[in-house]
Symmetry: C3
Subunit: 277 residues, 3 copies
């Protein structure tokens, strides 16, 4: 970059605590009582709202709004000491909006134009793809991967190591519109393929696989494959072979380790080491 | 907030009319001949384009573009006196884009990153969810609720009190690509559940229910439930029970009143009172 | 506009090359080694990143990020001389994000909030609708039309004159999650209707039509219509009549010429003239 480039017109409230080595882009606004960990980079045109905490070594792309107002601000113009906490080493790509009053772990990643509403509890090493929309009041475990354009309705519960592919919707209203909502529960290691719809209250078993374009109206048992509209269980996941290797493709944790905690060993070795510790 | 915080670098054209008590965020641009009603709040980094009217007591979140250029501007760089009119008490959440030359009633709400194109006629008390995309040249009645990521094709006609849930698409081209389009018509009190596709020219009857993931190729009669791909009418809505109460769930207007004009009474009492007046 | 309106606070790096007649909006940032062709208009709040080339007579709407950082920047804070090249006469609507290291031809158009990732090779006269998400490492031919909210997975290959309608997803992982991906191939003049899902590795034949809401698990032959979940070939496209005229609707190139190279003649005349030259 030009040595002489001067970022201008950013605003940092007096009460904000900015760590060493933080860089701020042009026009960015850091509001009152924000805490930014050391070496974090906040790009141009961002708004980091009152009371937001962002951990060290993070990156926030241009045009993000972090700690977005909840409805009470809109009606009262007062912000009641809400907090958004995002762990260290986050990578929040440009155009994303994250509300106040959620808690997000370390090593969080988003794509672009993501929306995450209030009262979302999100674990460590979660990634959320471009245009995904987490409606808030939900729990998402560790090492969960949401691909692009996933919609997580309120009251959803997603365990660790779950994969959800593009255009999947987790719904919550059995007889819309109504006021008694019931969320979807997705258990560990389950995989929900592209364009599936999970109806209110269904539970997807551990290691189950929901095929592309399924409309899931009933629970899916662990290790089962469910496909179609309405979805039916048609097989055990352990019968599916990798098209290239001819080896079983599932449970995927024995065949896939990219960015997983067992990345440098195998799932079994890692799991044994956990038990020893 | 800091008493000393000074918003800077906003631009207000001399010809704009700004009501009492209006607040403008940093970097916001108010172009020529804009009219902003009293007590309205326009947050940071917004562009309010020439000739836009926004009613009193409204809130426009950060990074919105209101009165966006139509194609003729892009080709001619001249803006031909277009007008966008938005009623009072609007709540337009951050990142939304609304074109010039539409008319929107009072008590309008949007989620984030919404797009509303030109020649949209939208009634009162309508809400449009995050990422929804209204393609313009369409009519939307009063008290219509579009949830997240709904796509309303051109020439759609949506009556009062309609609910449309996430990832529903209203299409308009029977033999794509072609130049003879025909819109979808959705009658009052109908409910279109998540992920349904309504094919060009279909009409959804009053109080009908289209189930999640349906592909609707033919008209659906009033009070009927249609599900599947292609969708078939399988039941009368009045046979569906609320899962928690065991009571009939439809017509929903007898069981749901949140933010509806009959919120403080019942639908029947409200309807009778209308007739008396 | 006000004669006296002064755009302020834009930044242009010393090394950028700005053509005659270029206009820059308020707060826009033009980084190092950018090249902007003559008469191009870059609206407010844009970031045009290092090394981006945008052709003459183009329009870039507000809040766009053009030449967006790849992951290596995020981790190293160094930008390794990446280039994004966009041809002349582009129309990139507001809120769009285009990564560095892609190549895009002339007469390119986007809707709003589009994302185009790195290593996308895009031909001339392509349009990409609002909220569409091109994941990169893919090839898109000339005169391709992607409507709103289309998701193009990595390794996709799309030939000339293809139409893809809203909420279509081109996938690439046969046994998700895995690391051996295989893209979808769509041949010339094919039409993919709203909400279809194309599974990894399928090939859609020239002039084929995939119906709305189809889940395509196998190749579709040229001229065939495939519908349903899972999709089945049910007819020859040449049997489909235009609802209004009663004439055959396909192959569409004989009945539709808007913005096509045969706009001022017929497809056959144009095709013959090509052979003569």
């Amino acid at each position: 970059m030009d040595k002489n480039r001067k970022w201008r017109n950013f605003f940092v409230a007096d009460s904000a605590i900015i760590g060493e080595g933080v860089e701020l882009g042009q026009n960015t606004i850091i509001e009152e009582n924000v805490v930014i960990g050391k070496n974090t980079y906040i790009d141009c045109n961002c708004v980091i709202r009152e009371g937001t905490i962002i951990g060290e070594d993070s990156f926030v792309g241009s045009n993000c709004i972090i700690g977005e107002y909840q409805n009470d601000f809109i009606y009262t113009r007062k912000k009641d000491n809400y907090k958004l906490s995002i762990g260290k080493n986050a990578l929040i790509r440009s155009g994303s909006i994250i509300y106040s009053n959620s808690t997000i772990g370390d090593d969080f990643q988003t794509g672009h134009q993501v929306t995450i509403r209030e009262e979302s509890i999100i674990g460590n090493s979660v990634s959320v793809g471009t245009l995904s929309d987490i409606q808030g009041t939900c729990e998402i475990g560790n090492y969960v991967r949401l691909h692009s354009n996933v919609h997580i309705g309120q009251l959803s519960s997603i365990s660790d190591y779950v994969w959800i592919f593009p255009y999947v919707v987790l719904t919550n209203d059995p007889t819309p519109p109504s006021e008694r909502l019931i969320g979807v529960k997705v258990n560990s290691f389950a995989v929900i393929a592209t364009g599936s719809i999970l109806l209110p209250g269904v539970e997807i078993g551990q290691d189950a696989l929901v095929g592309a374009g399924a409309v899931v109206t009933k629970d899916v048992s662990e290790y089962m494959v469910a496909v179609g509209n309405p979805a039916k269980e048609i097989s055990d996941v352990r019968n599916i072979k990798n098209r290239f290797t001819g080896e079983p493709a599932y449970p995927w944790r024995y065949h896939y380790n990219k960015n997983m905690p067992w990345e440098t060993s195998t799932y079994d070795e890692w799991y044994q080491s956990l038990k020893l510790n």
